[in-house]
């Protein structure tokens, strides 16, 4: 049925165009032969096509535009006629003989336009006549198009200031009067459409009305272009008259559209200077009008205006724009009790943006807006409405964008209260926005109180909020958000150690509740932050005041111990082990032997009890050896215990090559360059010999299992260790031992069962080259190497 309707309409339009073109053709002929009578006859017939009621506004507009273009030619003809001596007054009379009212009025407007141009009568009289005569058409669509024709042809002939049609001083008033009258009549026609025809066609009617709206709004645009309308006239006449029509028509569609038009077509300073009047209209509108959108657009306009130049700001203050807008919003919300929460938040969000632009120094205004928002939100459940939550994010982001500084936002007491109403998902989004703002602006957050407030705000990222039944959280998203928390923790800093310690404790308090998935992300940055503080303190001598409560490395280490321990419970033993070793090294630098020993003990326990994966064991043991080697705080006894354990672990690794490498690495535990008491050549040799035995065993196992010997790499690696300690002057490492190791490797390489391994060959070759080089270098080192035959 509907498809048929559309098809029929096309047919009717085509027929209308055909009829129009046919008559236009005869009209052109009449124009070319200067035949006025025929010109009028055919133009009237042509215009009769516009009498149709069958076309939708869109299609009717197509027909109208063709007629419009043809009428321009007729208008030129009329102009020429008057030049040829035909009286314009006579013409004005003559066209009124057209038999049908619609063509008659189109012709009248066309002649009227020439009439005004001729200046034979004052423009205002002709305009007044025309706008009155148009009352003859009461069919909404036809009437609206006719009047829009009048508006168009008179557009550049209004008696405006500076225009050639300007008469006495009151002429602008005449122009305004004319446009206002046309506007009023058009709006009446437009509103009346709503109530004509059967109720079931309401939707179709509203669609048609929506298509026609710009014809009505056009009048407001024309008004905005009249130069002579100064602020006074706008305030005294134009705005009140337009608003009167808007309010009194009591039509939802018209009110929404026309309020928007007023806001968009008139200049900013006019709005500012008439805020009372303009805002006063809003509560009088129908309760179903979407006021939030219109009012938000007004505030958006004014915000942009305020942002455009600092020069305009005094204007805002002078008219007290903020309090007026704030009041108006309050009244509108009161007048529309059914306004959805989205509307309320949208309004406050626009107002907040406005005040941030206009009164950047008035934090209390911003807080007031947020407070008003909280008042509307309270008593409600957490928001489920996606659009509304999105709007809250926009609301809360506005102060961050403006100040580029969370510290300022933290001063807004209502800020966290608004966040309370977000669901946990949105809470996270907002928390991320906050962290990004801090990162981007490198904001310094340097007191524990602020950190406390900040973590309260971003708690959605710090722990599972109670209502969160975890839907599938995307693993990557989770990692990303936790990494951003980690970065944030690194950024928190105070130069004052006392304050910094408080910050650390505050962060710790918050993150410890984060659960097993978050701790591996959040504990490491906290540990490193704490160690940084330790190093800062360690540079200073004893606390000058010697106060008991003051922050000392010892105290920090206690906290650290407990913090890292939480990781072993998760369990994340490998991470915990690494952190314990870091702490041990820091304790070493602070000369705190018992503390360092305790950290090592913790690491060893983890190694023994929690780390069972052989790969993880290899990594862990090398970390242990490396760290232990650098420790200088230990006395003989403690050191013995720890090195003994480490060598023990090394020899018990699963794979022979791993064993071998760990064991030769242990040799370094007995020979430390800068520690004179750690130079035990014998035990170094023991380690290396043990490594050799293991390498041999590895070869044999390989032979047995695969039928070919493994690579000689391990032997070459051990040879390098021999050379290292040889150079360091370890008396246990002799020329003979090195010599026999070289021979061993050469033999292995040439044995039938060996597998070719170019990498190992190259490694060996370059080792030999190195020795040759040392020999030739001469001096003490050259002498040392001299006896070795390569």
């Amino acid at each position: 049925m509907i498809a048929d309707g559309v098809e029929d309409e096309e047919k009717w339009l085509a027929a209308g165009i055909a009829g129009l073109q046919q008559n236009a053709f005869y009209m052109h002929r009449a124009l070319d032969s200067n035949n006025l009578r025929d010109a009028l006859k055919y133009s009237a017939q042509m215009l009769s096509e516009l009498r149709t009621s069958r076309l939708s506004p869109h299609k009717y507009y197509e027909l109208y535009m063709r007629a419009f273009d043809e009428l321009r030619k007729l208008e030129m003809f009329f102009k020429e006629e008057t030049r040829r001596g035909c009286s314009i007054v006579d013409l004005y009379e003559l066209v009124q003989h057209a038999g049908n009212i619609l063509p008659r009025l189109y012709l009248l407007c066309t002649v009227g336009s020439v009439y005004i141009k001729s200046k034979e009568a004052p423009a205002k009289d002709v305009l007044k006549d025309l706008v009155e005569m148009c009352r003859g058409i009461q069919h909404p669509v036809r009437g609206l198009f006719l009047r829009s024709y009048l508006a168009q042809v008179s557009r550049d002939k209004l008696p405006d200031i500076g225009s050639e049609y300007e008469g006495d001083a009151d002429t602008v008033v005449d122009a305004v009067e004319f446009v206002l009258q046309n506007f009023t009549e058009m709006n009446k026609l437009w509103v009346r459409m709503q109530h004509q025809g059967p109720a079931r066609e309401k939707e179709k009617r509203e669609k048609e009305r929506s298509e026609l709206r710009d014809l009505v709004g056009k009048n407001l645009h024309v008004l905005s272009q009249i130069e002579g309308i100064d602020l006074d006239m706008y305030k005294e006449t134009v705005l009140p008259r337009v608003l009167e029509q808007v309010v009194n028509c009591k039509d939802e569609i018209a009110q929404y559209y026309l309020m928007d038009c007023i806001i968009q077509v008139f200049p900013d300073e006019y709005h500012l200077q008439t805020l009372d009047v303009l805002l006063g209209a809003f509560p009088q509108l129908q309760p179903t009008v979407d006021i939030k959108t219109v009012l938000s657009r007004l505030m958006e306009r004014l915000s942009n205006y305020a942002a455009s130049s600092a020069d305009v700001l005094p204007e805002f203050l002078q008219v007290e724009a903020f309090s007026k807008l704030n009041n108006a919003i309050g009244k509108v919300i009161e007048a529309q009790p059914d306004m959805p929460i989205l509307g309320v938040i949208t309004l406050y969000s626009s107002l907040l943006t406005f005040t941030l632009h206009v009164h950047p120094d008035r934090l209390d205004y911003a807080d007031q807006v947020l407070g008003a928002c909280v008042k509307k939100l309270c008593g409600k459940e957490k928001l489920e409405d996606k659009k509304a939550t999105k709007q809250i994010v926009a609301l809360l982001s506005a102060p961050l964008d403006k100040y580029n500084d969370i510290v300022t936002a933290l001063k807004l007491s209502n800020y966290p209260r608004v966040m309370e109403y977000l669901d946990s998902e949105t809470n996270k989004v907002m928390a991320t926005v906050i962290i990004q703002s801090i990162m981007k602006n490198k904001t310094r957050i340097s007191t524990a109180d602020r950190v406390e407030a900040l973590f309260e705000l971003i708690k959605g990222l710090i722990k599972d909020l109670d209502d969160a039944f975890h839907d599938e959280v995307d693993e990557d998203d989770f990692k990303e958000e936790q990494n951003s928390v980690a970065r944030l923790i690194q950024l928190l800093h105070s130069d004052d150690p006392e304050e910094m310690f408080k910050i650390i404790c505050t962060v710790r308090k918050h993150i410890l509740g984060g659960g097993p998935k978050r701790l591996p992300f959040t504990v490491p940055p906290l540990v490193f932050s704490s160690l940084k503080l330790v190093r800062q303190l360690q540079g200073q001598e004893e606390n000058p005041f010697g106060e008991e409560e003051s922050t000392t490395p010892k105290k920090i280490f206690q906290v650290l111990n407990q913090t890292v321990e939480t990781l072993s419970n998760i369990p994340a033993p490998e991470l915990a082990l690494q952190l314990f070793l870091q702490c041990a090294e820091a304790a070493n630098d602070c000369d705190l032997e018992p503390v360092a020993y305790e950290f090592f003990t913790q690491a060893y326990i983890l190694y023994e009890e929690e780390i069972s994966d052989s790969r993880a064991q290899v990594t862990a043991i090398h970390l242990i050896i490396g760290t232990l080697q650098r420790m200088h705080v230990f006395g003989v006894e403690n050191r013995d215990t720890l090195t003994h354990k480490a060598t023990g672990y090394s020899a018990k690794l699963l794979k022979k090559p791993d064993q071998c490498r760990a064991v030769y690495a242990c040799s370094h535990l007995f020979w430390v360059d800068d520690q004179d008491n750690v130079k035990d050549g014998e035990r170094v040799l023991l380690c290396l010999k043990r490594a050799l035995r293991i390498a041999n065993a590895a070869q044999q196992m390989s032979n047995a299992a695969r039928g070919s010997a493994g690579s000689v790499t391990l032997f070459v690696e051990i040879l390098n260790k021999y050379l290292y300690f040889f150079e360091k002057g370890n008396p246990q490492i002799t020329v003979a031992a090195i010599q026999s190791l070289i021979e061993l490797i050469t033999t292995e390489m040439h044995s039938d069962s060996s597998t070719p391994d170019p990498a190992a060959d190259a490694f060996f070759a370059s080792t030999l080259r190195y020795m040759e080089f040392q020999k030739q270098k001469g001096g003490a080192m050259g002498e040392k190497y001299e006896p070795i035959k390569v």
């Binding site: 535009m65 550049d156 929506s210 200049p267």
Partner: protein, 176 residues
């Protein structure tokens, strides 16, 4: 006497922002529908009447569509030399016009391009160079290009004369 119709020329102005009504003030005022103005241009001892349709560039206020494109004798594409996007959109506007107005010979339909607001900030905020604009015009069949300042009136008359001459070149065939 076919000359009468030749004296009346329909010109459509398209672009991201309107053109004519920016004459007096830089302040933002929205246009509703297309702004309709007439302008008389004299050259070669003849008087031409241009009927100019300046569009809003704001879709919200185009509720009846663009039927007014039809029957145009010339289309003027305007961009703001200080806003790159307005230049980038010229192609869209040109194509949109050819689709909606469906002139009989789209290949040779007369366009004119105006680079507007050259006076703003003494030219310091300019981002679309004359060279770049001319290159685009050349690639679209040698569209004439003018740099104008509607506010200062700079080059506007020359542009309109060119617009009129171009419109004349392509006199539409007699309809029916």
């Amino acid at each position: 006497m076919a000359s009468r119709r030749r004296m009346l020329l329909k010109v459509i102005i398209l672009g991201d922002s309107g053109y004519v009504n920016r004459k007096f003030s830089n302040q933002y005022k929205a246009t509703i529908g297309a702004d309709f103005l007439t302008k008389e241009v004299q050259f070669d001892d003849r008087l031409f009447t241009l009927q100019i349709w300046d569009t809003a560039g704001q879709e919200r206020f185009q509720s009846l569509g663009v039927a007014f494109y039809r029957g145009a004798d010339c289309c003027v594409l305007v961009h703001d030399v200080n806003v790159m996007k307005s230049f980038d959109n010229l192609n869209n506007w040109r194509e949109e016009f050819l689709i909606q107005a469906s002139p009989s010979d789209p290949e040779n339909f007369p366009f004119v391009v105006l680079g507007n607001k050259v006076d703003v900030d003494g030219g310091n905020s300019r981002v679309v160079s004359e060279k770049k604009a001319k290159a685009w015009c050349a690639s679209k069949g040698n569209i004439p290009y003018f740099e104008t300042s509607a506010k200062e009136g700079f080059n506007v008359d020359a542009a309109f004369e060119c617009i009129a001459r171009n419109a004349l070149k392509n006199e539409p065939e007699e309809e029916m």
